[in-house]
Amino acid sequence: MPQFDPHFFSSQLFWLYVTFIFLYVVLSTLAMPKIGAVLEERQRKIDENLDKAAKLKAEAEAAVAVYEKALADARAEAQRVLRATGDALAHKAEEQQKALGERLAQQVQAGEARIGQAKEQALANLREVAIDVAKAATARLTGISVDDAAASAAVASALEERR
């Protein structure tokens, strides 16, 4: 086999080391730093984008939190206003009702007073009329003229009996 013929051993070793050292120099100074830089650049970009994404996500979450807080605040405020308005209206209605009740009670009282007055007056008139009637009836029936005092006493006692 030609592989075991030592005639070209020196030549093959020589060219092996020449080409290998040349390739080593070219790769280590030229090609590998280039590929390494490309890979590093890509890794850097990826990391950067991941960082950015994480930051944006955090920002979005913060915005959502703020929004939800605002929503909750608004809801609470609305509840509060609603309750306050309800309370105010109820209070006002109560006051008005009370005022109305008082006025009605006053009117009722005044009416009653007027009625009582009218009744007393009517009763007083009734007594005078009764005295006159009694006097006139006595004069007509018996011909005796009764004096005012006696007639008044008689009417008074009669009214007292009826009561």
Partner: protein, 240 residues
């Protein structure tokens, strides 16, 4: 039928001699030059665009770079980072030597024992120097495992010494033998295709399968050569 070992013959293209030593530029040297030119072109032109999203060539170059980088990281560790350019060069040189050999009418320099041995001895000597640089004379402990009774040294030290010194031979012979045998099989099969005429269709089909297999072996042997170098480097740096 052509002689199946004819393909391994060295032919001087430019006879040269330096100080009485034959350094003729041969077909073997020619394909070494072709190989390093292809490797250089492949690795520099492919990443010229520095594309963020790599194209086909760029991603192949990146895959090879990262493949070897990972191999060193997993097998040698962070201290192996320094030797990355050498290991990468070794891998590309062997890989392209194997692959170029698959092209008809080319010469496979990795099928020559002197070439594979030339590479293996560099690995061996380099690893030994690195070992002594890291551990000084303590590196001789390589030949005597920790915890073994002192009396066993008589047996263990020669065994370990032989095993250590046979590393370059096993590296060199493995690559040389795989490449040589593969090419001989292809050549013999191809001879049958011609010789059998119409029935040559059978060895022809077989030849297709073997060619695929040989591509696999070309990749695998480049990988094996490199990973064994990495493992030796690991032993030298960390000892076992």
């Amino acid at each position: 039928m052509a002689n199946p070992v004819e393909q391994f013959r060295i032919e001087p293209l430019v006879p040269l001699e330096i100080g009485g030593v034959n350094v003729s530029f041969t077909n073997s040297a020619l394909f070494m030059v072709v190989s390093i030119c292809l490797v250089t072109a492949f690795l520099t032109l492919s990443v010229r665009g520095r594309a963020l999203v790599p194209g086909r060539w760029q991603s192949m170059a990146e895959v090879m770079y990262e493949f070897v980088a990972n191999m060193i990281r997993d097998n040698v560790g962070s201290k192996g980072r320094k030797y990355f350019p050498f290991i990468f060069t070794l891998f590309m040189f062997v890989l392209f030597g194997n692959l170029i050999g698959m092209v008809p009418y080319t010469f496979t320099y990795t099928s020559h024992i002197i070439v594979t041995f030339g590479l293996a001895i560099v690995v061996f000597v380099g690893v030994t120097i690195i070992g002594f640089m890291h551990h000084g004379l303590h590196y001789f402990r390589m030949f005597f495992p920790h915890g073994a009774p002192l009396a066993t040294a008589v047996i263990l030290v020669p065994i370990e010494l032989i095993s250590y010194c046979s590393r370059p031979f096993s590296l060199a012979i493995r690559l040389f033998a795989n490449m040589t045998v593969g090419h001989i099989i292809l050549k013999v099969m191809a001879g049958f295709v011609v010789a059998l005429g119409v029935f040559g269709i059978l060895p022809m089909a077989f030849l297709g399968g073997v060619t695929l297999l040989e591509f696999g072996i070309a990749l695998l042997q480049a990988y094996v050569f490199t990973i064994l170098s990495c493992i030796y480097l690991h032993d030298a740096i960390h000892m076992h």
